[in-house]
Symmetry: C2
């Protein structure tokens, strides 16, 4: 059985296309009085971007904070806030959610769009294909590129017990707005770490066992674009990085990430390390598994003058290290993609611990 | 303004995924008694593929003939046949159309799906964004790769006065099933000419004025895949050709084809030459405009032992030649993409005639 892959069905790409947001939203304002919820990364408070948001009378602007990785509790809290806002006037319905920001902001928007139509807590849906009801209309507007969150069928959340995505066809955005101008203002290191998320997941998927030609075609081009951006640069680099992220996300359709992402999930859960930087910290210790990729990654580090944090795990207490290993081991498909069906033999806990201790 | 590009929202890719057709169709059989119409290229009559069609009680199997390029009259005729079939039992509705075949078969399926919900003749909708009502559910299953018809927002038809596509968001398939096994049986020259459609439209879009990074990323990868297929070959070549076609089609999103396609439309209209071979005949005479592309194309001709038809226009009577020029000149966006807004100055009728006379 091959997955019947759900693709984001509407894409606008172009410098300045953010200006079309009002028109695009308008088409999706179904009922008079329906409310669009703008979930926007709070780094944009009082920015030019804030003034460009096409807010209308009934709309709701929710600033979201992603200093920490998104949690299921935060999703539940945002969902409650939207529900109570909507209840003020019973004619209103939440007609859609528009997420503006990096991977975390987009993931929050996807999760909230799901939770507006599904009962319980977001934590109930962490896993694969657990969502029962279609989400409300949701749109992603990336202001950082690399995660592939704009096209993926997952929204990765830290729950009470684990870091795991809500993987579902309903998670996929209905619309994405790809404006390379929006990513040009990101701080250099954040841009780098997020971009490396794309680079690393291409290396992992292209070297994995699940790959097919659909995913390979996307992955190879995403990788080539990452190389152009992080080894050469140039005037089109924002356009290229945005496309690398989109292609990188598409390449996951029929493949999977691998060891690095599994380890990175543990780092995030136990130490609160953000996904992009966590990937970089882990990848730097995986030369044995991805030799060429790690060599090229180090060249990228150097060219972009990035100093990786060191000794983040080395002195960690045993209990927390064990939890880190537990979290990484939940990601079975990732290990299987990287090492095959006998991955448990090839990667006992002690070996994972050794790798973590080098970080 | 950038186009809000409509993408095929469901894609299955994989060798043997045609076996999942029944499951995929099942999800889209909305009402009891609703009828799925299978439009299948009649080369598959009495073939293994015919026996694999998941036909159910109320379904309709229509063999279609594409010895000639699809016409608006043929679309109207097929639509009438489906309507009268459905009227036999008033409970029935045509719930969807499934096109199985090459670019012509897929174009017919797209056009019929539109005409089942729109009044008048298909000829009324040749042009850009003229369709008023959404089509019925429609699925494309390519058995030849290269045209990009599986992802494009057009269905190219020969009408009473012109060869022109029905370009509309409603034209886009809801689902495509990409099974590389299905294209492995095509005759060598047909496979080559159809594949060259992809190669040529990549050359035209990458060298055109409309291109942006979205289209460029797709176009460059499609071109690279075409090179692998037609210069090297190898065990994965069907997978690669299928992806080349998909990427080539996607690359047209924000770009356009160029001179070769414009001329090829004239060849088809007046001489009934099929699109793929028409492109090759025209491209071979465009070294001045696409020097590297034409050189490489000739290398591909040689490696694949293809003998291009010669002297197809050279001795044509003046009246028909003039009509050929008329038809090619309708494609304004193509000329503009290739030559700029002053294309009419750069390409007077006499110059077009000279190029045609060399074919």
């Amino acid at each position: 059985m091959f997955r019947n892959f759900k693709v984001v069905s509407r894409v606008v790409f172009g410098r300045g296309c953010f200006n079309q947001l009002d028109d695009i939203v308008l088409e999706n304002r179904k009922e008079a009085g329906s409310c669009m919820v703008f979930l926007v990364d709070d780094v944009f408070k009082n920015s030019v971007l804030e003034r460009r948001l096409p807010l209308q009378k009934h709309d709701m602007l929710l600033w979201i904070n992603v200093d920490n990785e998104p949690t299921t509790a935060y999703v539940d809290q945002l969902t409650r806030r939207i529900r109570s806002h909507v209840e003020v006037d019973s004619k209103q319905v939440a007609g859609g959610v528009i997420g503006i920001g990096g991977g975390s902001a987009m993931d929050l928007a996807k999760a909230v769009a799901i939770m507006l139509t599904n009962p319980g807590s977001a934590a109930d849906y962490q896993g694969w294909d657990l969502v029962q009801h279609p989400a409300v209309y949701h749109m992603g507007v990336p202001t950082l590129s690399g995660t592939g969150a704009e096209v993926s069928r997952t929204t990765v959340l830290i729950g009470p017990q684990k870091k795991l995505g809500i993987n579902s066809d309903y998670t996929v955005f209905d619309q994405i707005v790809l404006d390379p101008d929006l990513i040009s203002g990101a701080p250099g290191s954040q841009r780098f770490y997020t971009g490396m998320d794309c680079y690393i997941h291409c290396i992992e998927s292209l070297n994995g066992r699940f790959i097919n030609m659909f995913s390979r075609s996307y992955g190879e081009k995403a990788l080539a674009l990452c190389r152009e951006v992080f080894l050469n640069g140039g005037p089109d680099e924002d356009d290229k990085l945005m496309m690398a992220s989109y292609f990188g996300g598409m390449s996951i359709s029929y493949s999977q990430v691998g060891i690095c992402h599994a380890l990175s999930y543990g780092l995030s859960f136990v130490l609160g390390i953000h996904h992009g930087i966590g990937n970089c910290i882990a990848f730097d210790r995986l030369e044995k598994y991805y030799p060429e990729g790690v060599r090229e990654f180090r060249e990228m580090l150097e060219r972009n003058r990035i100093q990786l944090p060191r000794k983040v795990v080395a002195d960690l207490d045993e209990k927390r290290l064990e939890k880190m290993i537990d979290v990484s081991l939940i990601l079975e498909p990732l290990w299987q993609n990287a090492l095959g069906s006998d991955w448990k033999k090839k990667m006992p806990r002690e070996k994972i611990k050794d790798i973590y201790r080098q970080m």
